[in-house]
Symmetry: C2
Subunit: 295 residues, 2 copies
């Protein structure tokens, strides 16, 4: 909602059911809040990376182990060998991507990774549980979800898509040159033309707003011109290597749960008092799987 | 492109034609650069607003006079009576909107505006020159362009859509409560469910990156909690009121020009060396009309 007043926004956002002058369905937020524990799946600690930036902000991201196992293994190895500690945010291009890793002039070599992983761009449709949305898509015959992730399919293959907050693996021109030493996340309108052109290896689950609010780089393609402009990455850790009591933990909504189907339908058909004309449809990247801190 | 190296990025970005190992078509950038002067239209100075922020950054936006004449007239009047001078950025919600104007507690009253403009959400299709894209859309039967603007149609009506950088008019629940005293721009994946629910009154043509990089607000819906957090708007001026010699001027590509059609096709079918699999389609909001400084 784009209300003019914070007072009205609070009222509408937090007490819609009580205040609305006409009968309305549950809002997407209300459906999420009411969903049982079984509608949520905890992100495995072995798939959760905690990245601390030099400005004190913490970003957490989830690895897409099912879709990009070799790239995910590389990221775990790079994290555990400290490759990203002292790396930096290299590039922020408006309405496109934030990219991090080590710059050209940095002599640090990655240790123990698969140097040339296969281009993990897609899986066979038969090998996954693809749940299609009933809405059109500009790029693919079908879009929907696979095990909590936004995905697309052409009827034979299925692949993860470049929605806001998804993480991909930077590469040079040949497809097998993405070794996970440089990663990027989408910060604007989904650049879906990158689907099946780069490996999608994860997604941001917390702290996205600290990456998207970074100053845009002023060199070609939004790279920072000087090292002084680059925000450093102080540390990157696997959640599974942190003490059990204090480690962060997140949950992603189960895209096969009935509550999720209700949530999508409510996103597509908003009939709360503010809306004059519910859309009757939703773009996949506007119905990204809800994520929350583990209660 | 998500190249790993700034050196490679420069090479690929600026000299793709010379470096590419296989024969490729012109890139979207090359088509833009080669387009004749007739493929560009200058934004009328009477539709161009120059907003200077307290951090020194300048944002320019174009009014959608054809589609929202009453709201555009209100904005001109608010600008000329100094309503926005001393107003502020009120809200930054990640992956959604930046909203500006005056907060609830500000006693400043707008002078000489239409207090309750009609909800200028759509026009009849017959009254506009709608140029459809040949690609699917999740929300509308057809998407395309009207006179340089991204638009959608159901075969009877046509309307401007909420792409990245488009400007809308905040309102309270009744549709006729948007008087242009608070405006917002889209900073994430296009929230197309807002189409025909709010008046689209313009678009950012320069300085978008200064709005998108602002810290996200931490109150409900991304509103800032305190006045101290709000970046002030120092001044807002109509370009037409500035001295002819020194005023900023921008050009928007003519969406009816053959060069624009080539540009869209190239955006949809990127066959430069980096791309393994051109998409063969493009989402309307990923093919937003190019804008440049007037040469």
């Amino acid at each position: 909602m784009i209300l003019k007043s914070i007072a009205l926004a609070v009222m509408a956002g937090l007490a819609a059911a009580a205040q609305a002058p006409k009968a309305t369905s549950s809002s997407p937020q209300e459906i999420m809040d009411a969903a049982p524990a079984t509608a949520w799946k905890t992100v495995p600690a072995e798939d959760l990376v905690i990245m601390t930036l030099a400005d004190g902000h913490v970003v957490a991201y989830q690895l897409a182990s099912q879709f990009a196992p070799v790239h995910a293994a590389n990221i775990r190895q790079l994290v555990r060998t400290g490759y990203f500690n002292g790396a930096s945010i290299l590039r922020v291009q408006d309405n496109y991507v934030v990219q991090w890793g080590r710059p050209d002039e940095d002599p640090t070599k990655p240790a123990g990774i698969t140097a040339a992983p296969p281009a993990e761009y897609e899986a066979t449709l038969k090998s996954v549980k693809f749940k299609a949305l009933p809405y059109r898509d500009a790029y693919a015959a079908k879009v929907g979800y696979i095990g909590g992730w936004p995905a697309a399919s052409d009827g034979k293959a299925a692949w993860l898509v470049h929605c806001y907050g998804m993480i991909g693996v930077a590469r040079n021109n040949p497809p097998d040159t993405g070794d996970s030493t440089q990663l990027y996340t989408v910060i604007g309108h989904a650049p879906r033309h990158l689907d099946r052109n780069l490996t999608v290896a994860g997604r941001i689950v917390s702290g996205m707003e600290f990456l998207t609010a970074l100053p845009r780089g002023t060199d070609t393609l939004g790279f920072y011109k000087t090292d002084a402009e680059r925000l450093k990455i102080v540390s990157t850790k696997m959640a599974s290597d942190m003490p059990t009591g204090g480690r962060p933990s997140f949950q992603v909504m189960d895209t096969d749960a009935p509550d999720f189907a209700r949530w999508v339908k409510a996103r597509a058909n908003r009939d709360q008092a503010f809306f004059v004309r519910p859309a009757g449809a939703v773009d996949l990247c506007n119905a990204q799987t809800p994520v929350r801190k583990a209660p």
